[in-house]
Amino acid sequence: MGDFRRRYRPLWGPDVGGDVDEEFAFHVEERTEALIAAGLDERAAREEAIRGFGDIERVKASCLDLTRARQESMRRRERLGELRRGRRARARHRALADGVRWQSSSGQSLSDEVQRAASFELLYVKEITSSVLDRLLNLLLCNCGHPHRGQLEALEKKVGWKPDGSKDRVQASTRLQTIFHGDAARELEDQYAWKLQHPYELF
């Protein structure tokens, strides 16, 4: 590949064919030198170095096919990543907007911890409506104030949260109690793992 093309390669993307040619040329040069050092004359050494590739055009085509396939799967992964990032960003923005609306209507301020938890939650919940978010924020805010069990139950009743079974209820309360009392990040990760198994449930 020429110096000019190499220098301005970013302008027109990678030259896959040129790269393979250059890589093979390097190999031939190195092998030719080794064979000359071993006693062959230059012409014989070069012929022998090229002969090692067999049908060099077939080898090159094979390498090009593999490179194109790799690039295509990389592009697919990037597109998928962008899609996911976009969806998460939209969810995050919606959560923050809803959180701010809730905050102004309730007259209460959200702690950083609650906001962070709500954002974190929204990143991983596939679908969440404003009413669910309000319940979530209520529950989180309640717990952030270190409520006793009765307060928590009252709030859960107020926001209309009806867990399916007593086991779920205990699990949810325990989870709420521990989120902000221990190591916040670690607890949120635990919560996230549980959430993946129950993506449409609120705790």
Partner: protein, 113 residues
């Protein structure tokens, strides 16, 4: 089976050579040759497609650099996944070689069941 076996063997040898550090295709071939006391000479026509296959699998990655002789060369390096595959593949290969060795070194006919 034969093609898969050959591919697998070559790939595991390439991963092993790259476990010592980044190297260009020519160097990989030379290392395999040296380590096998010249018993294994990997034809370039097999070596390069194997390197590209490994790169596609994500077991190695490539980057252009400059060789000791100041030539531009494409250097391959092992990825984390490649290192994991090397560990798994080396174990499987050792088990396979031991089993084949056991069959070939047998001195008594197996008992008919």
């Amino acid at each position: 089976l034969r093609k898969e076996l050959l591919h697998g063997t070559l790939e595991i040898m390439i991963l092993k050579t790259l476990s010592w550090g980044p190297m260009h295709g020519y160097g990989v071939g030379r290392w395999i040759e040296q380590l096998s006391d010249a018993a294994l000479r990997i034809e370039e026509g097999s070596l390069y497609p194997a390197l590209y296959r490994l790169e596609r699998k994500g077991w190695i990655e490539a980057e252009w650099g400059v060789s000791e002789k100041n030539r531009r060369a494409k250097y391959y390096r092992l990825t984390v996944e490649g290192r994991r595959q090397l560990r798994a593949g080396a174990g499987t290969w050792a088990e396979f070689a031991r089993a084949v060795g056991q069959v070939l070194s047998a001195t008594e006919q197996p008992v008919q069941s």
